[in-house]
Symmetry: C2
Subunit: 556 residues, 2 copies
């Protein structure tokens, strides 16, 4: 079997100017980054009124170690829609260097459902993440420089919340003491680094409607608090302008292609726990202007990814999605039913049926937003006909929803053609009536409770008086209209990662809240959330290199 | 008077493909980064045997607060050589973000002697520095990850020498304690960040002859020592391959243009104190293959910049320069003579004559390498005819060297035409007979002493027994053939920055030595050297932003 890298290398790429021409863009509308990558000049993008495309969200059941294939399904569906004559643009997040060198590998799809050139997309791409890191870290340097020169703004050095970022898995940077070495080397205080995708700059970058909105969001970002608990912002430090200068090029959406020749906009990549986990609004809107259909994905399972896509991204950007595709695999459903990982190769319809509760909850949830659903069953060779039939019957009988088997990983566009027809039929029927889960005006605490009960199946939330008072302070300061961004384990509807299937009656424990004033949401942390991953015992980096022909090897 | 940014903005840029065509390069030889920047594919570069260009080094007197204009002279001379019909390529270093947001501003020249597009060159450019930072920091993450997983290689956590880097002025990161927060968050130890230009990866990147050489240099890099003082390298940590993958694109030279339309290769930018301070060898060699003349510069005054260019870069790369241009200004020479900064506007021939000793020493020094010298007197409006005549007569009478007044800052290529004719005449005469200052086989201590006495005018060096024994250990380990890279103040021939003019009889105090096994030199630290600058009280960042037309403003 060929590796992803081999398949990508054998693909015959079109010049990116030709991919752009297929979208009605001319060479002058592009800023080329080599032969196969371009940024699209904002002046070339259709105005808001001309954005007529339909929006399809690809989401998934709760992830298991068996894997689902959300990114490959997004790419395969996009390729297949183009194959059946629907002009489709795929919108994805940019990969982070951290997982590339760690455990998970890149994020450019796999098999015959990949975006290319995969090495460049997985490594530095167009430098967007580096630009975001630089903007974030400039603000951090300005904070410590402000302390150094006398702290005119009166920041409490114990209450500085703005950390630094690096696009790397580096656990030793999680908790630091900075500013050591005496008076000439700064003011000692506790600090730390997050991975770049966890930066609030990343989240704001991805949610900003236009450059003016980005500048406003950067200005509002809170770096810390005074002793009286009043906030100090990037604007107070006169740094948001320089951050904008650093982000000016990065903010233009990136155009690449799939190995099937579909256009793909790959732009932005916020964390899916402390941020909202979707590609940039500007790229999605560009896709809606340039294509008839946009296929996009959101991080993690639908309880986290789709919820945030719908309640944060679509709400803030005024987007109205037309269809949701929920990706499942027979293997993962069997794990939700209780099968151990090493027994996944054997047919087990009964346990699969138990695991369908997870899929069912996600379908129900997405329907609460007024969206029609198609289930994509990403095919593995070990799947049996009886197992697929159990999934199909469950979806049809319980929810009136079609479950379509697809094999884009092995067969590219042809393998997702049935799925494409099913999605196209839903779009043509026009049955979507999108509504967010809760109104802007609902109190913050009730927003958290609504997501917990309506989406997670929880009986209630648990939150102590100190956090309640913190939330009340944010409401008093005018942040009560913001949506909530809940960070919890992706492996379960509950806060307990070992609770597979569709648990209910549990209580969601709120451990911490953080105001992301620039991103425009309240982060609600429930359980252990790590914003700086570590490398494994044998990092992927050990096997990455350059071969004798000068090609990058070892990326997956 | 127009600002640098205004002049740059008004320049009519040619498509970079046209600039490349002037060098015989076709569109397929380029990897475009937008319309005005390209990387040159190594396959398109002339082979070593076909590199027939003449090499001109632009260096300077010891810098003063009055300024010299080495970069503008390099650009102006290149433009003027092209104007008089000599096919010339300019080779410069890439700017760092640190000074852009700090005090000094960018490094793309000034006035009518600039490289463009200045905003992009000064900000992220083609991402080379970000790639170098990522490669450097991946190795750092692998070091701490190795400690975390049990430290099989037996690194002494107190003797880890590999720090982290960021392309930012951020003094609070100079000295840190990393790995805090308990066993899950790493192993606590002292660490710190340098600015990216001070990375050994940067130095190796700039000295590597080809990609295989770069990989070998990365493999040799020492990250720290065991308790028995044996070294642990990047190869031991199996990280050099992944570092190469991160550097693959960055290693291709960047092509831009001057506002006069000359081709400029802007690639790499190592610190001029703990590293050698010149652009990449691959860019210089590319220029020598593509043009008839390459004009390049080295950091700081000739005692540091030219010495390292000649004894490190030319020695390692086998380059043989044909002419040196020493840049001086009447104002700076007056400061060397003792005039205070606020009295520089008044004619003062006598003090100027005293300051000429600094210029004279630099001319003598460069001649020791067998190079013919031309002095460029970078014109300021306050300079008087009598002052210029004093410089001209001094150079002619003492050294048989021509001093040429030039005004490229105000007048572009036309302002440096006389200088171009003088340099062309030197090149046509072919009198250069380059030889490095010392032989590879000279013991390391004698190499340090040779530079100190021959170039700095010192009577001797002062070095304690501990450092002598450290140097002996390096020689025993096989590093005795390396050149030395001396880090001392750029403001004086001595280690005392206040000693202007041409002091002699002083003693050079060696405070520390560091083996840069990958870069391929022994760093010899004499005096206070800061590898992570801080921001000033009012950083330039406060005035940088985006105007209503979407243009970046405030960069200088």
């Amino acid at each position: 079997m060929k590796s992803d890298a081999e398949i990508a290398r054998e693909a015959r790429l079109q010049p990116i100017t030709e991919i752009a021409a297929g979208l009605g863009l001319e060479a002058d509308d592009l800023h080329l980054y080599g032969r196969h990558i371009a940024k699209i000049d904002p002046a070339a993008l259709p105005p808001a009124a001309a954005r007529k495309g339909k929006l399809v969200l690809v989401t998934a059941i709760s992830p298991t170690p068996a894997g689902e294939g959300k990114t490959t399904t997004t790419i395969g569906l996009g390729d297949a829609l183009n194959r059946i004559g629907r002009k489709t643009v795929i919108c994805l997040r940019e990969p982070s260097l951290g997982p590339c060198f760690g455990l998970k590998g890149g994020a450019a799809g796999g098999g015959y459902a990949q975006i290319v050139p995969m090495e460049r997309i997985n490594l530095h791409f167009t430098g967007d993440f580096h630009a975001i890191s630089a903007a974030h870290n400039l603000l951090a340097a300005m904070v410590d420089n402000h302390l150094y020169w006398g702290n005119e703004l009166g920041l409490d050095s114990r209450r500085i919340t703005w950390r630094r970022v690096v696009d790397m898995n580096d656990r030793a940077l999680r908790n630091l003491v900075v500013g050591l070495g005496g008076p000439r080397n700064g003011v000692p205080r506790e600090g730390g680094f997050d991975i770049t995708v966890a930066s609030e700059v990343m989240a704001a970058f991805c949610l900003a409607k236009d450059f003016a909105d980005l500048e406003a969001r950067l200005s509002r970002m809170i770096v810390g608090f005074r002793r009286d608990r009043s906030a100090v912002t990037a604007a107070d430090l006169k740094t948001s302008g320089a951050m904008c200068a650093l982000l000016a090029d990065a903010f233009m959406p990136n155009l690449v292609q799939t190995i099937g020749g579909s256009p793909a906009l790959v732009h932005g990549g916020p964390f899916a726990n402390i941020a909202h986990g979707c590609n940039s609004v500007v790229a999605t809107e560009a896709g809606l202007g340039l294509g008839d259909i946009v296929v996009t994905e959101a991080g993690f399972g639908a309880d986290l990814g789709a919820e945030k896509f719908l309640d944060i991204k679509c709400r803030q950007a005024g987007l109205s999605p037309d269809c949701a595709v929920v990706v499942a695999t027979v293997r993962a459903l069997k794990m939700h039913g209780g099968v151990a990982k090493d027994a996944l190769g054997q047919e087990n319809v009964e346990t699969l049926k138990a695991g369908l509760a997870n899929l069912g909850r996600h379908i129900e949830n997405v329907k609460k937003y007024g969206l029609p659903v198609v289930v994509a069953v990403n095919h593995f060779t070990s799947d049996t006909a009886a197992e697929f039939a159990a999934v199909r019957d469950f979806c049809r009988e319980r929810f009136g929803v079609e479950a379509i088997s697809c094999s884009h990983w092995a067969h590219g566009a042809a393998g997702a053609e049935d799925l494409a027809h099913a999605v196209a039929a839903v779009l043509d029927a026009g049955a979507a009536a999108f509504r967010p889960l809760y109104a802007d005006g609902l109190p913050l605490l009730d927003k958290i409770r609504t997501v917990a009960t309506e989406i997670y199946g929880a009986a209630d939330i648990a939150i102590d008086a100190r956090l309640k008072s913190e939330i009340a302070d944010y409401e008093a300061a005018g942040f009560g209209e913001l949506p909530v961004c809940i960070a919890k384990t992706q492996y379960s509807f509950s806060a307990n990662p070992d609770l597979r299937g569709a648990p209910s009656g549990h209580v969601l424990p709120v451990r911490e809240v953080r105001l992301a004033a620039g991103a425009g949401f309240l982060v609600v942390i429930c359980g252990e959330i790590n914003t700086m991953p570590g490398l494994p015992r044998v990092p992927a980096a050990e096997h990455i290199g350059i071969d004798s022909a000068g090609r990058i090897v070892g990326l997956s």
